[in-house]
């Protein structure tokens, strides 16, 4: 039995169905069991329609499973109300999406501050410093004051990563974080994710279509038709 504190995410018999009770009822996920330990860097791959996005939404507490239990850092989530889910999400999970990650009304730095603002209600100097620190860590000190729309795609994804890390989450969920970028930018963004992972205890779950990037992860989970088809450690990624 693994150390409970070392477990970031645990899924037990997770099922997800849509249109429940209607003739069109369809089950997308058929009882998934999965454990991700602290500091793991995991790729989630699989063909379109295999249920990757659904799974990511469930893990991100944006959606609720039809059956099964989902633990985030050891805490069961099925009985939580919306307010508690929001709090847990804010504290434990960071998101990086493929498109439209940032609010165009705000600068890069302010976008990074937003999760702290939502949690604490009012901006302060400590927030600004923390955001500036992360902006520097993702190599964007020079453009921190620019409106987020004025940044390149790669820069925007870096800001999104900084925002995902600002609350020091246990788990970062990235949905095709490089899917929108050219190869060079994609490599840079991916390198950044790896570097952050190595420097912290944060676990990463990265959905990707790109086999090249998947090969650079420590563990590759393949989802096919709502079932885990394969789940294996990837020695190739190790330096």
């Amino acid at each position: 039995m693994a150390d409970l504190n070392a477990i970031t995410l645990q899924l037990k018999g997770i099922r997800k169905a849509y249109n429940i009770g209607l003739p069109a009822e369809t089950e997308v996920l058929h009882g998934l069991d999965l454990t991700i330990e602290r500091g793991e860097f995991v790729a989630l791959i699989g063909p379109s329609g295999s249920g990757k996005s659904t799974l990511l939404n469930l893990i991100g507490l944006l959606d609720k499973p039809t059956a099964g239990e989902l633990f985030i850092t050891g805490q069961a989530t099925s009985h939580l109300q919306d307010r508690e889910l929001t709090l847990l999400r804010a504290k434990a999970i960071g998101f990086v999406f493929q498109f439209h990650n940032l609010l165009p009304e705000f600068t890069a730095l302010e976008n990074v501050m937003l999760p702290m603002l939502a949690a604490r209600g009012r901006p302060d100097e400590a927030m600004r410093l923390r955001a500036a620190e992360l902006i520097e860590q993702v190599g964007l000190s020079k453009v921190g004051k620019h409106m987020s729309n004025d940044l390149s795609g790669g820069q925007q994804q870096r800001v999104a990563i900084a925002r995902a890390l600002v609350m020091q989450p246990a788990l970062v969920l990235a949905d095709e974080p490089t899917g929108n970028l050219d190869t060079q930018s994609a490599d840079n963004v991916f390198d950044l994710l790896r570097r952050v992972n190595e420097a912290s205890d944060t676990s990463f779950l990265i959905v990707t279509h790109d086999p090249r990037l998947a090969q650079r992860c420590d563990r590759i989970i393949e989802l096919v038709d709502g079932r885990i088809d394969s789940d294996k450690a990837n020695r190739a990624s190790l330096p």
């Binding site: 944006l62 929001t86 804010a90 609010l103 603002l117 939502a118 901006p123």
Partner: protein, 408 residues
């Protein structure tokens, strides 16, 4: 980022600033609505104050009269026959019974500001070959001038009359070719006759009154009209004119005399005032409704436009309540800022109106009442309307499924 405002405010202000055109248009709409409300309200309340003042300038608020005389047919006893035709009695001039007691009694009542005895009757002014029928009013200037704004209508001489003084209207004076200091002969049907000297000329701005009313001293009127020691009415003003009807009924119950309030005798005037007030309310309601629908529709569109942003905010730890407040706040701010702009525009309208709506002599057609509280009410009202209008879009935004919103 400003550290003064909380999270929802920062977001609301940024969202509104970023959607510049939308914000500008809807705020102009609200501003226009508020300016119309401010303008119309000031106009109508000015109009009403003015009408009200004009009406009460020329009449007492309560008039106490002797009861009407009625004919009482006598039964023919025993034969079962009644008079089938009863001729109503012609009303002769008669005095208010015990008027000094009534006067003293009414003067002591709460809310009564002035009580004045009046002798009114009909007469002829004779000068040379001309004679004019006039209504003559006998007054005690010390009380009557507090009752009616006669002083302010005097254009020559003074209203303080005693003994054989008379006040005549401007038109009558012109018809008879007389002015202050000249003498006139006044005769009444009961045979009274007196030579009076003109002490003052008044102008009521109404040629009927200017050519047919004259004022003389109470005692002179009593003797001319054969009413020695009597008065035909006791007239009363109150501190609060709108309580006149209640006070009139109290006096009637206490004295048994006929008591008329200005509210009862000017029923038409009151229904006109009410109609104005009602049309003002209707205008306010529909302007408010239009503004609310405008704000709501802009926010509904905004929720759709911002659905991705809402999804991202929810994913990064923003609660449903915070999203709800974010949109309610946008509605409230639109209402508040729009109403402040509208107050300024309304104020400009009013000033322009003051310059345009003037008489030929440059005085105002009627003065506009300018209550600063109206601006406060408009601002509070518009903020409430904005918040209410935002309720539906805000709930929509708060209920948005973040997973769906992010995928778009």
């Amino acid at each position: 980022m400003n550290t003064v405002f909380p999270f929802e405010w920062i977001l609301a202000i940024r969202f509104m600033r970023e959607a510049r055109m939308q914000t500008l248009l809807i705020m102009s709409g609200v501003a226009l609505g508020v300016s119309v409300i401010v303008f119309i309200s000031a106009l109508i309340s000015g109009l009403q104050t003015n009408l009200f003042r004009r009406t009460l300038d020329f009449q007492a608020q309560i008039v106490i009269l002797p009861p009407k005389e009625v004919s009482r047919p006598l039964h023919k006893a025993g034969e079962g026959m009644l008079a089938t035709l009863v001729q109503p009695r012609a009303q002769r001039l008669q005095s208010v019974d015990q008027w000094q007691t009534v006067l003293a009694q009414v003067a002591k009542m709460d809310g009564v500001s002035v009580v004045a005895p009046v002798v009114a009757g009909a007469g002829f002014i004779v000068r040379g070959e001309a004679n004019k029928a006039v209504g003559l009013t006998g007054i005690e200037p010390e009380t009557y001038l507090q009752l009616i704004a006669l002083n302010s209508k005097i254009i020559a001489g003074t209203a303080n009359i005693t003994g054989t003084d008379i006040l005549v209207g401007m038109d009558l004076a012109k018809d008879l070719g007389v002015w202050t200091g000249d003498k006139l002969n006044l005769q009444t049907a009961s045979g009274g006759t007196a030579t009076l000297s003109i002490r003052g000329i008044f102008d009521f701005g109404n040629s009927g009154m200017n050519s047919r009313s004259v004022y003389i001293a109470l005692r002179t009127a009593q003797s001319l009209l054969d009413l020695a020691g009597g008065v035909t009415s006791v007239e009363v003003n109150l501190e609060a004119p709108f309580t006149a009807e209640t006070v009139a009924q109290t006096i009637q119950a206490q004295t048994g005399l006929k008591v008329d309030s200005w509210i009862a005798t000017n029923a038409q005037f009151f229904s006109a005032l009410e109609a104005q007030s009602m049309s003002n309310t209707v205008i306010r309601f529909f302007v408010g409704l239009t503004a609310a629908l405008g704000i709501a529709s802009v926010l509904v569109v905004s929720v759709v436009q911002k659905s991705k942003a809402i999804g991202i905010l929810r994913a990064t730890g923003t609660s449903r309540q915070q999203i709800l407040r974010l949109f309610l706040l946008q509605g409230a701010l639109t209402g508040l800022i729009g109403s402040l702009l509208g107050a300024v525009v309304g104020w400009l309208f009013l000033n322009a109106w003051r310059k345009i709506a003037v008489n030929a002599d440059g005085t105002q057609l009627f003065p506009i009442t300018f209550d600063p509280m109206l601006f406060v009410y408009a601002a509070v009202g518009a903020t409430l309307v904005g918040t209410l209008a935002a309720l539906f879009p805000a709930l929509q935004a708060a209920r948005l499924d973040p997973a769906v919103a992010i995928r778009g």
